[in-house]
């Protein structure tokens, strides 16, 4: 269970032990211990909320360094996420970015937005297939996949078992290389995803269920952005016409882009982890009916809101709207024979096993006793959820106490109340005496 590799790490020297991340973490995975934050790896879903909110930049995403990746293998293929295009001011043609990627040292480029257009086409086929549990939940956001496997066991069967655009782009890159450069072996090739998202790093490292990612390295949109700034400003020579993306592919970078491409009004798109949780709760209760498709993005605004992007997500979104204005709706189509079909290699078979992280004990009677004890501890706490004990709220603290991870005496508010009471009693006796 502890073998899951996360992509969020802590710079202990920068962490002041403040309660900001504690308060924002949607899965209550963080505690403050010995003056700094500690992340519980079993609960962390790599959403990046703590990275985005840390006032001291102590929370960091871990990813491969661009210059190291560029030195590594014989044939390096960049897979830019469409979010990358939204980072640049006054960009009017995606080809400048793609040409720039070749100029900084990549040997080839396969756009993730291009793969996304195939995923959209296959999704329309997927929704028509028999025996699919509706609404179908998008498999594109890795945070959502992990959240469902930790918290919503009954919704696992709704996850679309079609690989996300990043993986399809990786497969396309391998096919393209096999065709154009048959002399290259797999170990000569480095497939490098340019990511706005720390959770994609985790997805690549850990795979999903039994599926192992075809991506070899993940670098950040921000590192690539700064590297590209140097080369893209040089000269005014027109770049090669490399881009094969349409409106649909570019729109995948923002919330609602994927869902609107199913060409069907029966969809819902939610972004931001709190909103996502509300939708999943309601879906779990069976209160969302007659929907075909649900797109959920952990980041506000969609992938443009990722913690490894540079630009404000709303500015990036506005730029992408501008960039896609004169693009065709799509530039990637299924051939006639593939119209009703999804290649087997584009599907994943198994879903990860449900990890009941909230469970108090594997024994029901023991769990009941613990919950009863938690209620007792909780009722004696001040209930102001200050976080000074290192837990995000009084209920979580009570649970920590019963699980043996905290001591009830650590509640400073309670200690202060007890102290005041003792002092108060002291002054009263003085008054009586005088």
């Amino acid at each position: 269970m502890n073998t899951y590799e996360h992509s969020v790490s802590l710079d202990v020297s920068a962490c002041t032990g403040c309660t900001t991340c504690l308060k924002h973490c949607p899965t209550e995975a963080i505690r403050i211990r010995e003056g700094h934050a500690v992340i519980n790896p079993n609960r962390c879903i790599d959403c990046g909320v703590c990275i985005r909110n840390c006032p001291h930049n102590a929370k960091k995403a871990t990813y491969s360094k661009l210059d190291q990746v560029l030195r590594k293998k014989k044939w390096k293929i960049a897979l830019p996420a469409p979010t990358l295009y939204g980072q640049f001011e006054n960009l009017d043609d995606i080809d400048y970015v793609l040409q720039g990627l070749l100029d900084i040292g990549f040997d080839d480029v396969v756009e993730v937005s291009q793969a996304a257009e195939f995923v959209s086409a296959y999704t329309r086929n997927y929704l028509k297939a028999d025996g699919i549990a509706k609404p179908v939940i998008s498999s594109a956001c890795p945070v959502i996949l992990r959240l469902i496997s930790l918290r919503y066991p009954t919704l696992q069967g709704h996850i679309m078992q079609l690989l996300p655009p990043m993986e399809i782009a990786a497969k396309m890159a391998l096919e393209k290389t096999a065709k154009n450069h048959p002399e290259l072996k797999r170990e000569d090739i480095c497939i490098c995803f340019i990511s706005p998202c720390p959770a994609k790093v985790s997805y690549v490292r850990n795979g999903f269920g039994d599926y192992k990612s075809e991506v070899d390295e993940v670098v950040s949109v921000s590192d690539v952005y700064f590297a590209l700034l140097n080369v893209m400003r040089r000269g005014d020579q027109a770049p090669d016409p490399l881009s094969r993306s349409g409106m649909i592919g570019i729109s995948w970078a923002t919330s609602g882009g994927e869902a609107s491409a199913i060409f069907n009004d029966k969809y819902l798109a939610a972004d931001g982890i709190e909103n996502v949780n509300r939708v999943l709760d309601q879906l779990d209760n069976g209160n969302i009916s007659s929907l075909e498709f649900i797109e959920l993005n952990a980041c506000p605004g969609g992938c443009v809101g990722g913690a490894m992007a540079v630009e404000n997500p709303f500015v990036a979104k506005a730029r992408l709207q501008n960039l896609r204005r004169y693009l065709p709706v799509s530039q990637n189509f299924l051939d006639d024979e593939n119209k009703e079909y999804i290649p087997g290699s584009y599907l994943f078979e198994s879903l990860p096993t449900y990890l009941p992280i909230q469970r108090l004990s594997s024994n029901f009677a023991e769990s009941l006793r613990m919950m009863s004890d938690i209620q007792k501890v909780r009722s004696g706490l001040p209930g102001i959820d200050c976080g000074a004990c290192g837990a995000p709220n009084c209920r979580a603290f009570a649970e920590d106490v019963i699980r043996g991870r905290a001591d009830a005496s650590e509640c400073v508010v309670k200690r202060k109340q007890q102290l005041e009471k003792q002092l108060g009693e002291g002054t009263e006796t003085n008054h009586d005496g005088s």
Binding site: Q282, N285, Q358, R359, L360, S362, S367, L368, M371
Partner: protein, 141 residues
């Protein structure tokens, strides 16, 4: 009978329709912590949800208690609403006295009480006109 090991208490606010269904979400979270199977959780949370919605629509709110025993879960719903005139009739699918504004939100399909019965192993309704309704439901573990 032995005493409930854990009791979860909820005040169901009759004034705020937008918050209806919140108690059901809380119950589900607690049941997950106890490691209760998803099928049982589903039964309890649907019964709880329907009961909660009923109290909001018809009774101006009320009190809900979920008592967890080692071998079963009991849901108690108490309100001081108008009471149910004809329980037999109310138990029929499709029968509802919900007002139009509520129906326009997709509620009032007349499936509340029938669903509560369907998803629980035992259900008792005690209702007095003008005084209120008390419902006890049991789901065996």
């Amino acid at each position: 009978m032995s005493e409930a090991v854990v009791t979860l208490h909820f005040s169901v606010d009759g004034e705020d329709f937008t918050s209806a269904g919140q108690a059901s979400v809380q119950v589900k979270k607690s049941l997950r912590q106890l490691g209760i199977s998803p099928e049982i959780i589903r039964k309890v949370s649907i019964a709880m949800y329907e009961g909660e919605i009923n109290m909001v629509i018809h009774a101006g709110g009320g009190e809900a208690d979920v008592l967890i025993y080692e071998d079963h879960i009991e849901i108690r719903l108490d309100d001081h609403g108008p009471g149910i005139a004809n329980i037999e009739m109310a138990m029929q699918e499709g029968w509802s006295t919900a007002p139009d504004n509520i129906r326009s939100l997709g509620f009032g399909a007349g499936m509340g009480l029938p669903n509560m019965k369907r998803y629980t192993d035992e259900m008792k309704i005690n209702s007095v006109l003008g005084e209120g309704t008390h419902i006890v439901m049991k789901v065996n573990l």
